[in-house]
Symmetry: C3
Subunit: 327 residues, 3 copies
């Protein structure tokens, strides 16, 4: 048998199957530095051990998005090596803070399968979880992805579309954030004077600054996450494909053609406050539900959206998520 | 009020005002590694904990230029988001060594303001300081920068041009360098046999090797410093601007047009020994005052300089600074 | 005398001479993170401290190739600054594991010299060794390289071609790998179910995924290793040279023109099992001798080789090495 890994095809998945993913990873301050160099976050809590300790963390936690990408990267060789499209994400929750020195591993449960009528592909729904060695969950999310079949005639491993929540409930938030000492939270050092109470539902914020993405940057980022998705790395094959370019993001979405992002394009973003919520048992933080929309090569000063059925080719992403803010 | 940060304009500054900058930062070995990958320093003291300890440091200190860039980066959102030109730097001193694990924050005092006759811009003079949490100063420098006005009619917040030293005095050097055990300084491992006594005033050194700068490199470096200067990152807007390119360095200087550096250009450099000095109370090190001139796409074998009033378009930088050398 | 370092020329080397190289280096988790971002390794032992400890390491060791490149980088300023061609490597052995926090230094013994008949160049053979401060050797290898003469008329410093082994003996392997607790080696987390016994001599494996190399990536990697080879960095001079491009790899080999690798090309690879061997005193691991062939802009599905005397322009590398596998 060939040791060349071909990845799983649609008919290889079974509902209820739990896949333990390879390559556990100890997250280090080196990973954090490279993530910072690639993305440029400026959260004081994640940037300064002193700031973090003052408000109740043992030291700066690792940025949630780095944790997400590391966990996600582990799932790629088993789940999406033969994907034709990432369709969606739901029910993503950060469950515990991660600190430099923590080791993360990941597993995925197949919670749904739906063969497409062409019998050439099918949709795989997985609930993926990132864990520390003691079993503490740090992250979980549901992802669904369209995966090729190896053999059109092969039977599907199940036929079930799971019911997924429209949004994460505010009542389930907060596990990844210890109780904060807001009196010690220095709003000047944090770079923003605004507290939970300063944000209004419906308020929109243009993030103004565009960032151009380079080939070396998305390749280094993808390797940092040990994500093996081929489309990032192989210009020789990409030159013969649909776009002729290595793909950074997008290109497909749920059967609709969504604007693909290539190197040399500039990403802009804006956000809207969708709702505000109390977090049970927490009087020192409140939760804001945000929508962040990202575009390429288009300013967000006028808050562009996809207009109904017709895709605005500039819109790359429309993300719905909660953040905790000090009160 | 919009939460979109627009930065300060000239009329927002007041003489004597002290601005505490956001985003304290714990410097890690990860930051050092990425800095090394981007700039390629080969100083034995900064590279080897064993070498550093042998001569009297507790471990390898962080490269002074990384410290400078991290402190400088913090000042950008408050001081120069609306800058049209960096005009100059003076009185920059490294005041204490920084080690991995140290947390840095920064503040700036406005020490001068001078509106330009057009009333469209003015010059802001700040003394910026980097500190550790216990208040130890690690770095200070004066910078002056031409900043746009929001409103031409607005009154300036002051009218004073501070007197700045032509050069740093040798008698003020040495605070960032502990007493060195020169007997344990291994000149072979250091990569150079030359001691303080081997350098003559007027001596010139061609640094020979050119280094080409890539877009991904200056973007990653700028994010590593949490510097938010837009001109590095937004090709979409830059394409509509004067150069049509993201700018790495230069482009303006004191109203004169100085050679801008863009990705794909190759940087060369040479240095001259301007003077030699004793450092008070230190018999194990001496100070050399150096001038380092950098050019783009031009060898420095013939030690090019800007010729009087006429700019040599190849010259990017003409830097005057002191270094300590073992005796 | 000019302090501009010109490097050694062929006539500067003497047989038996031992050169201590500059710039000792403490390897950190930051270096590991950047190496991971540039190369994308996914070895569980090197990735997870928890995995490493379970099988008998004190923590994750540093990837052998990072150790090789750091040691190699130190030799460049003394050995190959005036090289016209890297000719070969032999007898490379990893002798001790390296952990983050270890400091490496390097030295080289000149073990052979052979002037070329043109008298313009000669071949320098060195045995280079990487060491920890207590003298523990971590790596050694022999390299031979064609180096320019400063002066054609100068006499050579010796005339001797050392006898070099065709291959490393399996009986000398294993020093860098502590005794492994295979019962605790989790093959699922390792990402491969295959043990030593699952590999057959003559078996070939296509590694499938191509990786495109960018200018920023090879420049950052080369600086990470503190390797000063000019051909990586100076596009201004390269534009006037034979290729008109910065060189990533190859371009010369033993007088024959070997396929040079430039940015924008995509690298593919395949491997063959050449032989299997017991490691003396070790019943928990076995040794596989592998040949890995890398190509540019050419899939390796048909296992391409250089065909006898005629170079296949796609083949970049043909590497013969041993790996230890758990039984």
């Amino acid at each position: 048998m060939s040791k060349t890994g071909a990845g799983n095809f649609f008919e290889d998945f079974r509902i209820g199957e739990v896949i333990r993913h390879a390559t556990p990873r100890t997250i280090t301050v080196g990973d954090v530095a490279l993530y910072n160099g690639l993305f440029g976050p400026r959260f004081a809590v994640q940037s300064s051990d002193v700031f973090a300790r003052a408000i109740g963390y043992p030291c700066s936690p690792v940025d949630d998005l780095l944790v997400f990408h590391v966990v996600f990267g582990k799932t790629v060789p088993d789940i999406s090596l033969n994907a034709v499209a990432n369709l969606g994400y739901a029910a993503c929750r950060v469950l515990s803070p991660v600190y430099p020195g923590d080791t993360l591993s990941a597993e995925s449960e197949v919670i749904g399968l739906k063969e497409n009528s062409s019998r050439k592909t099918g949709i795989v729904f997985v609930r993926s979880t990132g864990c520390k060695p003691d079993g503490t969950k740090v992250l979980e999310y549901v992802r669904w992805v369209m995966v090729r079949k190896r053999d059109e005639a092969a039977p599907a491993g199940g036929d079930h579309v799971p019911r997924l929540p429209e949004a994460v409930l505010a009542s389930t938030l907060g596990d990844a954030c210890p109780r904060i000492d807001v009196a010690s939270y220095d709003f000047t050092l944090a770079g923003s004077p605004y507290r939970f109470g300063d944000y209004q539902v419906g308020e929109k914020i243009d993030h103004v600054d565009g960032v151009t993405v380079e080939e070396a940057e998305h390749q280094i980022a993808t390797r940092l996450y040990q994500n093996t998705a081929r489309i990032h790395f192989d210009q020789f094959s990409a030159a013969q494909g649909r776009f002729g370019r290595r793909l950074i993001y997008g290109g497909h979405n749920g059967g609709r053609h969504v604007s693909p992002l290539f190197a040399g394009s500039t990403v802009f973003a804006w956000s809207e406050v969708l709702s505000r919520a109390e977090v049970p048992g927490r009087d020192e933080v409140g939760a804001l539900r945000l929508r962040t929309v990202a575009t390429k090569d288009r300013s967000c000063a006028d808050f562009p959206l996809k207009a109904g059925e017709e895709d605005d080719p500039a819109v790359l992403l429309d993300l719905d998520y909660w953040v905790l803010m000090p009160r």
